[in-house]
């Protein structure tokens, strides 16, 4: 026992038996630590410190309430149960499809609106979706044959602005398997109601867009699918990878003012910046974008903050660069032009970021 005499704080902390004692777990060494306090009174303070530290660390916990735990358990079980059932259900649905009949009704003006059994799956591009993510046979489909944008509200009160010629399909039973799913061809802007328990999925020509609650635009043509984010965060991945949860390397996360372009032919997603980035927050009320001989780092920081677009530059090289510039309502890229031209620098857009190249300033 004599080596305890040389124990320092970290020795106590690393001693498994000591930590069990602190945690109040009964142990073979019960009494040992009390004994040590008695034998080496000078260790008392250190032991108390070690005890406090362990307790503090254990106390600092990310609290998961019982309800949250239950929600998450159910969510996982839903997914895994769905996966187990895929094989049986796929067979059933194929059979069902072959007897499905179309029932169409002309509702208003030039707009088709109908409940139908899974009709016309090739035209809306759903034929290739795996059974597990195909909506129920009872679906609603809406085609905008008008010449102007059409607004509609989904059952979860999310708003969709459907462009002319676009088609949207969703299950009557809107929240299913803890997912909200819509199928899109053409262009639509989504303003999705936040509901983290039931993520919102947009399937468009081989691309899956997944969000919790946000606004974004999806533009699906035969060759490309574009996703532009207005607010919140959105993740996109090729449909072919959705049933492969172990390898989600192809999944891309988009933040406001970023856009993804998905090539249908190559099944590849690339990330860029929207043509006309919007201000996400208002610039500082007093200073705005007026900089009086400020270091570039400050200017870039202000831009990043307002537009949410990462700006990458070599801080060491540009350390001596400072700037006197007055900007106001110019579009993002005009602002960048002005700044880089003033500095004699250049920029390019790569992977959703702005990359500045400069040879530095004197």
């Amino acid at each position: 026992m004599k080596y305890y005499k040389d124990y320092d704080l970290e020795d106590f902390l690393q001693d498994d038996s000591f930590r069990r004692w602190v945690a109040g777990e009964a142990d073979a060494t019960e009494g040992l630590w009390e004994e040590i306090v008695r034998l080496y009174p000078d260790k008392k303070v250190i032991m108390q410190q070690a005890r406090e530290l362990v307790l503090t660390w254990q106390e600092h916990s990310a609290i998961v309430t019982d309800q949250q735990l239950e929600d998450q358990v159910q969510r996982i079980l839903h997914t895994t149960q769905a996966h187990t059932e895929v094989t049986e259900r796929r067979f059933a649905i194929t059979k069902y499809l072959s007897v499905a009949a179309a029932a169409a009704a002309l509702v208003s003006g030039l707009t088709w609106f109908y409940f139908a059994a899974d009709r016309d799956t090739t035209r809306s591009g759903r034929a290739n979706y795996p059974a597990a993510i195909r909506p129920d046979s009872k679906t609603q489909e809406l085609v905008n044959n008008l010449e102007k944008e059409m607004r509609l509200r989904l059952p979860d009160s999310s708003e969709v602005r459907l462009s002319p010629g676009a088609r949207i399909t969703y299950s009557q039973n809107f929240v299913h398997n803890k997912k909200r799913e819509v199928f899109l061809s053409g262009e639509a802007f989504f303003d999705v109601t936040k509901d983290p328990q039931n993520p919102f999925f947009v399937y468009a020509n081989g691309l899956v867009t997944r969000v919790l609650g946000t606004s974004f635009l999806v533009k699906a043509t035969d060759t490309n699918v574009e996703v532009l984010v207005r607010s919140g965060r959105v993740s996109v991945l090729p449909l072919k990878d959705i049933e492969n949860p172990t390898d989600r390397n192809t999944e891309l996360l988009l933040t406001p003012n970023q856009q993804a372009i998905f090539s249908v032919k190559d099944n590849v997603i690339s990330k860029s910046i929207t043509n006309m980035p919007l201000e996400l927050i208002k610039p500082d009320a007093e200073a705005g974008f007026v900089f009086e001989n400020q270091p570039v780092s400050k200017v870039f920081y202000a831009l990043e903050k307002v537009y949410g677009i990462p700006i990458v530059y070599d801080a060491a090289v540009m350390e001596k660069c400072s700037l006197r510039v007055e900007l106001s309502n110019e579009p993002f890229f005009t602002k960048l032009d002005i700044i880089t031209q003033t500095l004699g620098a250049a920029y390019r857009v790569s992977d959703g970021q702005v990359v500045i190249s400069s040879e530095g300033c004197r």
């Binding site: 704080l9 970290e10 362990v54 503090t56 998450q72 990462p310």
Partner: protein, 190 residues
């Protein structure tokens, strides 16, 4: 540990009840550990969800393990690192909100949970000065009570490296601690 092996085998055979029980037992520990990497609860929930979903899908091909907790911690860790790497380009953006909030959060929580606010704040300051790596290793030791071998397995480093990292972190602790706290503890004790 024998029990772990038995449960694991049942799970691999498709025993849904054992699987559910495993999620309930392990979820909080995974969340707790994950929250040291990712501060966004939605993303973390998604990662844990994906982890279990993928385990269930691949259950027939998984190797046996008699240490479920370390096995899951390691899998989650790999997933989170991938997630962080993938979203790395966004760090400047996210760091405005999430990281800063989280830092404040640790402190607020530390303060609010105890009556002795001043002491908690001091402890918070010490915890703050640790690197993420050091916090991680201290978490695995103090919170999960893992052995050096198990930590080595989770972090995918050698056992001596674990011992080394841990003692580094703890020495740092001691140094900071000694300069900040003695007076406080004197008051507590005498």
């Amino acid at each position: 540990m024998e029990q772990d092996l038995e449960r694991w085998k049942k799970f691999k055979n498709g025993d849904a009840a054992v699987f559910e029980d495993m999620i309930r037992r392990e979820f909080r520990a995974l969340f707790e550990y994950g929250s040291r990497f990712i501060h966004d609860r939605d993303t973390l929930n998604d990662c844990i969800h994906d982890l279990f979903a993928s385990l269930w899908d691949r259950r027939r091909f998984l190797a046996d393990t008699d240490k479920i907790r370390p096995y899951l911690l390691k899998s989650l860790r790999n997933r989170l690192l991938k997630e962080i790497e993938r979203t790395h380009a966004l760090t400047p953006f996210e760091s405005w909100h999430e990281n800063r909030d989280a830092e404040d959060d640790i402190e607020t929580r530390l303060i609010s949970t105890e009556t002795d606010e001043r002491r908690k704040l001091q402890i918070g300051t010490v915890l703050h000065s640790l690197t993420p790596r050091q916090r991680e290793i201290i978490h695995l030791k103090f919170f999960e009570n893992l052995s050096h071998e198990q930590i080595a397995e989770v972090l995918d480093i050698s056992r001596p490296a674990v011992a080394n990292l841990l003692s580094q972190a703890l020495r740092l602790f001691r140094d900071k601690w000694h300069t900040i706290l003695p007076s406080l503890f004197m008051i507590l004790f005498y």
